[in-house]
C-alpha cells in the first residue's frame, strides 16, 4: 500500500467522508513518522517508505478494525428497524381508521339524516319551546 493508496484505501471504507478523511490523515502522519525514523537510522528513502507501509500491516484487517468501531451495533439496528416498522404500521392503522370513519359518514348518510331529523322532530313537537 503506497502512500497515495492510503487515500484509495480510505475511500473504500464504508464510513462517512469526514471520518474516512480523518483516519487517512492520521495514518499518513504515522507513515511520515515511521519513514523519518527509518531514514535517520540509515534507510534509503524509497526502502524506508516501503518498510513503513509494510509495518502498517494488512489494509483489509485495518479496514475491518475501523468498520467494527464505527458500525452501528446490531441490536440498535434491529431496534431502529422494529421502531420504524411499528410507527409505520400505527400510521397506516391510524390513517385507515380516519379514512374508515370518514367514508362511513359518506356511505351512511342516513345516520346523519336520523340525527338531523330528530332535531327537526323535537323542534316541531308542540309544547316544546325553541330556545335561541
Amino acid at each position: 500500500m503506497e502512500r497515495d493508496e492510503i487515500d484509495e484505501w480510505s475511500r473504500s471504507l464504508p464510513l462517512p467522508g469526514r471520518r474516512r478523511r480523518s483516519i487517512a490523515r492520521e495514518l499518513r502522519a504515522h507513515l511520515a513518522d515511521s519513514r523519518r525514523e527509518l531514514e535517520l537510522a540509515g534507510w534509503h528513502p524509497e526502502a524506508a517508505a516501503r518498510e513503513s507501509l509494510r509495518r502498517l500491516g494488512d489494509p483489509a484487517e485495518m479496514a475491518e478494525g475501523f468498520v467494527q468501531v464505527y458500525r452501528r451495533p446490531r441490536r440498535a439496528t434491529i431496534g431502529l428497524a422494529f421502531g420504524l416498522a411499528t410507527a409505520l404500521m400505527l400510521g397506516i392503522y391510524g390513517a385507515s381508521g380516519t379514512f374508515a370513519s370518514a367514508s362511513s359518514a359518506h356511505t351512511h348518510p342516513s345516520r346523519a339524516h336520523v340525527t338531523h331529523s330528530s332535531h327537526v322532530k323535537q323542534a316541531a313537537e308542540p309544547g316544546v319551546k325553541r330556545q335561541r
Binding site: 483516519i23 490523515r25 492520521e26 495514518l27 502522519a29 504515522h30 511520515a32 513518522d33 515511521s34 509495518r55 502498517l56 500491516g57 494488512d58 489494509p59 484487517e61 485495518m62 478494525g65 475501523f66 467494527q68 468501531v69 464505527y70
Partner: protein, 118 residues
C-alpha cells in the same frame, strides 16, 4: 520474533494501550514504539492495528484526541486518558494482575515440567 496467540493479545490489548498513556498524552506512533520498548520487543504489533483500538477507546470515552501541527508542518493526533479512562485503567490493571497471578499459580510449575519433556 516472539510468538503468542492473537486471542491472548486481544484480551490484553486495551490494558496495554491504556497503560502507555499512564504518563501523559501520546500519538499513535509513539504508543507503538513505547509498547515495543517496554515489552523489550515482545509486542511488535502490525502498527495499523493500533489505530482502530485508539478510536474505539476514544469512542468509549476512555481517551480523547486532538490534532497538533508541528513546527516543521507535520501533523500528529495526540490522545490522552480521560477521567473515565484513568478509572478504567486502574480497574484493568487490578483485573489483569489478579488474573495473571492466578494463571501463574496454576501453570507455573507445570510449564517447567513440560519444558523438560520437550
Amino acid at each position: 520474533m516472539p510468538t503468542y496467540s492473537k486471542e491472548l493479545l486481544k484480551g490484553a490489548a486495551d490494558t496495554l494501550v491504556l497503560s502507555s498513556f499512564a504518563d501523559g498524552e501520546k500519538y499513535g506512533y509513539q504508543v507503538v514504539k513505547e509498547l515495543e520498548r517496554r515489552s523489550e520487543g515482545f509486542f511488535c504489533l502490525k502498527e495499523g492495528t493500533l489505530y482502530p483500538i485508539l478510536h474505539r477507546l476514544e469512542k468509549q470515552g476512555l481517551l480523547t484526541g486532538r490534532w497538533e501541527t508541528m513546527p516543521n508542518g507535520s501533523e500528529r493526533r495526540y490522545y490522552v486518558l480521560t477521567g473515565k479512562g484513568r478509572r478504567a485503567l486502574s480497574d484493568k490493571l487490578n483485573e489483569w494482575q489478579t488474573f495473571a497471578q492466578a494463571v501463574g499459580r496454576v501453570t507455573g510449575s507445570l510449564a517447567l515440567d513440560w519444558n523438560e519433556v520437550r
